[in-house]
């Protein structure tokens, strides 16, 4: 695993992408950012919120080595995340990173990788897609949204691979959930990575299992430390209770005791 750091990052931009989604871009002014793997996360310190005590675990959304930037996609949902998204360019963003185990990178040339996401769960998939592309793969993104105006960063995903979307109200792409998209019936994939609401991950896991495709999911259990010390974020697995922050957040579905 790459070495972990506590860094005072400097925000280079805070952009509101939709009603509740914000893109935070941050740089490390004094040195290159450390290595980070797709699927890993950062623990962001929340400053100036009376009700927020703990750091917030946020996925590595993208790493731009040219600009020495790391991106975080933050959904402003509670006091802590509202405080993060209320920051401005130039502010300090204290981050502990990189944390956890990321997605498995494919080994065989020609592998066809499907990345399925929904909600804020799309965050780690952009960086995964980028890393796949850099290794010569063309990833396929299948992202589910509530409605057309929720669709964010379509151009970013298209720059890394093919993009398919679903919306629950049919205002863009196919109507329904990502797991109902016709793509799953029309094409064969060799590997699937999923991040999103649990019902979505279970549904994709079920599809992957029936089709015999290796499938990894990224979990979002509530965490305190993010370092494997507090044992709060445990998931029940074939190895018993394990920390999502260190053994995950990415797990192969075969490791989980989900009803798949």
């Amino acid at each position: 695993m790459p070495e972990k750091y506590i860094l005072d990052l400097r925000l280079t931009g805070v952009e509101r992408l939709s009603e509740r989604y914000y893109l935070l871009r941050a740089t490390r002014p004094e040195a290159p950012l450390p290595p980070m793997l797709p699927g890993q996360f950062a623990q962001l310190r929340v400053d100036g919120s009376a009700s927020t005590f703990l750091r917030r675990p946020i996925s590595i959304h993208n790493v731009d080595r040219q600009k020495n930037e790391v991106w975080f996609l933050v959904q402003a949902i509670g006091d802590g995340t509202l405080c993060l998204t209320g920051k401005k360019a130039g502010d300090v963003l204290n981050a502990v990173l990189p944390l956890g185990h990321g997605f498995t990178m494919p080994q065989m040339p020609g592998e066809r990788i499907l990345l399925v996401g929904g909600g804020v769960g799309v965050a780690p998939l952009l960086y995964m897609g980028r890393c796949l592309r850099e290794k010569g793969f063309e990833p396929t993104f299948l992202l589910g949204f509530r409605t057309a105006s929720d669709i964010i960063q379509a151009q970013e995903y298209r720059a890394q691979g093919r993009l398919f979307v679903t919306t629950e109200d049919g205002t863009e792409g196919e109507q329904g959930f990502a797991t109902q998209h016709s793509l799953l019936q029309q094409e064969q994939f060799t590997r699937i990575a999923v991040c999103g609401p649990k019902p979505m991950m279970v549904a994709v896991g079920r599809y992957a299992k029936s089709a015999g495709i290796p499938c990894e999911v990224s979990l979002e259990n509530m965490m305190a430390c993010g370092l494997g010390a507090c044992l709060c974020c445990v998931e029940d697995t074939t190895d018993g209770h394990v920390c999502v922050c260190t053994e995950g957040p990415v797990f192969n579905i075969e490791q989980l005791k989900w009803q798949i």
Binding site: A50, T52, F53, R55, C230, C232, C233
Partner: protein, 302 residues
């Protein structure tokens, strides 16, 4: 630089900062952030005679200036510790203390006996105060008889420095402290977490899987400080203070109240490097006020 060394009943610490059990893993998890030689001791995760799965998820709830947990002593058991973890932690460059818990005095004693055989573990901290397990744990720590029975059994099995960690969920913590002192405890550490609860108003249910949990973090500091002051005035053995310490100033307040050393717990989650910062801050404070040694300020606040 002031002299930061303290001696806790034979246990030599390079400085009075220790990391609290269950908040610092086995020290290994924090090596990217902290030079472990820069802190007095690492107190590792609660260890029991037999492996424990702990309580189901969710085990944590955030509170104002703190958090609740109901981990429930998840650990792989003392034999796993001796075989697999001890070889990795025995040369960390600092004192490694094992926190021991159990379901019966016999369990505690057997677990302690196995750790007594480990050359590089100079002390144990007896957890008679975990609020998150049904049997044992806090049940022993809430009565003088229960606390005494565990310490009596362990004292026979364990020859090195024996620290007993006290529960704040009692009517008189000094009575418990005196009871364990009488049974041969070398030091007491306090406080463990305060029993609390969280309810999700939107979902109209309890947040934690077992309903209740232990409260920790800055919100408990005034309670901890009061109890440390009371116990330090009641017992002859050293007192180790903990509960909400997240800065050097917090730590100094505990030393002034009578603690011979301190433990940092939940603050490690917010700043993984806080322990070394606190050690450095204590030194700066002593220099600034013209004290030569940290022992010069212990308990001077009557």
């Amino acid at each position: 630089m002031a002299d930061l060394r303290v001696n806790i009943a034979g246990l030599q610490l390079s400085n009075p900062v220790m990391t609290a059990s269950g908040t610092f893993g086995y020290g290994l998890e924090f090596q990217d952030f902290v030079n472990l030689a820069d802190i007095g001791a690492v107190i590792v995760k609660g260890t029991t005679l037999n492996p424990r799965q702990g309580n189901p998820y969710p085990r944590m709830a955030e509170t104002a200036q703190g958090m609740l947990n109901c981990v429930g002593l998840q650990n792989r058991g003392v034999d796993y510790f001796c075989e697999h973890i001890y070889p990795r932690v025995k040369d960390l460059g600092t004192n490694v203390i094992v926190n021991v818990s159990g379901n019966s005095p016999e369990d505690y004693a057997e677990c302690a006996r196995r750790i007594d055989a480990l050359e590089c573990i100079p002390a144990i901290e007896l957890n008679i105060s975990c609020p998150n397990v049904k049997h044992g744990g806090m049940a022993f720590g809430t009565t003088t008889e229960g606390a005494a029975s565990v310490v009596r059994a362990v004292r026979k099995a364990y020859k090195k420095t024996l620290i007993v960690k006290l529960s704040p969920n009692v009517t008189s913590i000094t009575d418990i402290a005196l009871a364990v002192q009488d049974e041969g405890a070398d030091a007491v550490s306090l406080i463990n977490t305060l029993m609390g609860m969280a309810i999700d108003a939107e979902r109209r249910c309890r947040v934690l899987s077992i309903g209740t949990g232990g409260l920790s973090g800055p919100c408990v500091k005034p309670v901890a400080l009061r109890m440390v002051w009371q116990v330090a005035h009641a017992v002859q053995i050293p007192v180790i203070g903990l509960g909400g310490i997240s800065s050097a100033t917090d730590a100094i307040e505990f030393l002034l109240a009578g603690a011979s050393s301190i433990e940092i717990g939940t603050a490690n989650f917010i700043d993984p490097a806080v322990s070394v910062k606190v050690a450095r801050g204590i030194d700066e404070y002593l220099e600034r006020h013209g004290f030569r040694s940290v022992t010069d300020i212990i308990g001077i606040c009557e």
